[in-house]
């Protein structure tokens, strides 16, 4: 029981971080970022290169991941999403662009890093063992704590900094924010960069535990979509709640139903559909977001 709870918290914290980036981008630009999973994989590979290959300290490698993805996110917003949103007659067109980007990142990752599974040396050795009731390697605990710290600092940033306030205003009402003197184009770019940076950060954190490979991008995007749906699209607290709920469902399902194979996911998907049929806007979303 303790083990399941601990696994749930561990999974939930990392899922919540992935979902945060996705929901932020969605809230600001109404873009469903299909390439989010690929950004996460890219972040993992950057950390792998700097920490695993070049032998930099882990923290510096993590910063490099964040920086790379943030710059990439900013460039993508400025040169791809912003012009397409301006020119297109239906805003769903950005989905094609996002899917194209997902393919593009896959191709780049394939060419630069290859299709092999990559891992890095452990950052901390040893296993925490509480009387065989709760077994958890120290590095997982460290990553979990780091993830929770990042989530907390992200919330504080959104709540109390000037940029965060501008971003929240933008998410609430684009036109009104513009009338209040918010530089919409600039803050859209910052928001997108921030979302991409979160994806890179999670990728960098998780590469120390699960490693990273090319095929992780797509499934990660789907999981992130599910978390965002559970909590409500475009709501930050909803994304966190969705991530934690999915983490716990998975931990419990895998522990209880492991002998039935893939049935855990089938059950999660079906219950998600039933849940959304009853409450279409998720836990905390605005109706018809």
């Amino acid at each position: 029981m303790e083990q399941i709870l601990a696994n749930g918290i561990y999974l939930g914290a990392q899922y919540a971080m992935i979902a945060l980036g996705l929901t932020l981008i969605f809230a600001l630009m109404n873009v469903l970022n299909f390439a989010h999973g690929q950004m996460y994989v890219l972040g993992g590979f950057v950390t792998y290169t700097f920490y695993g290959q070049l032998g930099w300290p882990f923290v510096l490698a993590l910063l490099a991941s964040c920086l790379t993805l943030a710059v990439l996110g900013a460039l993508i917003e400025r040169f791809l999403f912003a012009p397409v949103i301006r020119r297109s007659s239906r805003e769903e067109s950005t989905m094609l662009l996002a899917a194209g980007l997902a393919f593009f990142f896959d191709a780049v990752i394939l060419l630069v890093f290859g299709e092999k599974q990559r891992g890095v040396p452990k950052i901390v050795d040893g296993v925490f063992n509480w009387d065989f009731r709760l077994i958890m390697p120290y590095d997982r605990i460290l990553i979990c704590v780091l993830a929770i710290l990042s989530i907390v600092s992200f919330i504080l940033f959104m709540q109390y900094s000037k940029t965060g306030r501008a971003l929240r205003a933008l998410a609430q009402d684009r036109t009104a924010a513009q009338l209040m003197g918010v530089n919409v184009a600039q803050y859209s770019m910052i928001g997108f960069a921030l979302g991409a940076m979160l994806a890179g950060l999670v990728g960098g954190l998780l590469v120390t535990i699960t490693g990273v490979n090319l095929g992780m991008g797509g499934p990660t995007s789907i999981k992130a979509f599910m978390m965002v749906m559970i909590g409500g699209a475009g709501v930050i607290s909803g994304a966190i709640a969705g991530g934690i709920i999915l983490g716990f469902l998975e931990a419990i399902g895998l522990a209880v139903l492991s002998q039935y194979g893939d049935i855990t996911y089938l059950l999660i998907f079906v219950s998600l559909m039933i849940f959304l049929a009853i409450r279409p806007q998720g836990l905390m979303g605005k109706p018809w977001g």
């Binding site: 469903l32 393919f103 593009f104 896959d106 191709a107 039933i274």
Partner: protein
Amino acid sequence: MIQWTGLAVFLMAIFIAVPSFIAAAGRSDLYYTLTAVALLSIASAGVWLTFYIGRINIGQGAFALIGAYVSAILVTKAGMSFWLSLPLAGLFAAGVAVVIGVPILRLRGVYFAMISLVLTQVVTLTALALPVTNGAKGITSIPLPGGVSILGLTLVPDFATLENPRLAFYYAACVLMVLTFGAMYRLVNSRLGHLCRSMQQNEELASSIGVNISYIRVIVFAISSFLGGIGGAMFGSIAQSVYPSSFQVADSVNFMLNCFLGGLGYVFGPMLGTLVLYFGWDLLFELGRFQLLAYSSLLIILMLFLPNGLLSMRLPGKKGTDK
């Protein structure tokens, strides 16, 4: 008048020019590609129709998989003729769409998009779990479609006895495609099409002037899934096998991309989009490991310059025909 000439030219092209060109060039492998394009464009037409009522549908892979399995099970287990199982597969997919659609069509925007994406996963996992679908091993060695004859007159020959079943499949797929797009064109210009357009613009407003929106969106979703089921069933018959991985999330996404690429405002958009995407991918095969890179870069560039689809490109001096 121009429309009829266009139609005649198109029919001549697909039924006479393309086969004779392929025979002359000796590239009979192209039949498979073109058949796939025709079938995928049928399923994409379904996706396009749900776009027409303002829903982003990333779940067509689910219905294509359902159709493929229903047809495969009917043919292998019940010994039914493929041509009878084809409409049944479509109807079964439509039935599933009605049952699922009643609750989930209440969702809009990204919520519907994401739940339809999840739907593809649900169907794949169900196919893995159910005994009748034979799990991950799938259903293999499905017999080729048999013949159909009425009063001794052979309407469709037995595919297994033909010397070139590829050509037969090509014709069958093209006939289906022409019928589908003919029906789509008719539907879009009918009363139902007008109602759909009103829903695409504003559902509340449409509802307030007496459009039964919940009825229409279920009907449209059922038609869309019917097309998905037909396309999937035919695909399974060509491949002579169905696996849970025959239609995945990536296929669902591709169906949607076909619609976007062709243009959401044009009935024939999905056909063109499928042709360009599928053929483009095949043509870029020459580039080896740079295939995906070139393909995705082209997608992004197309999106940058023609965000409303290929058909939004206007010939100078020609009056646009918005459909």
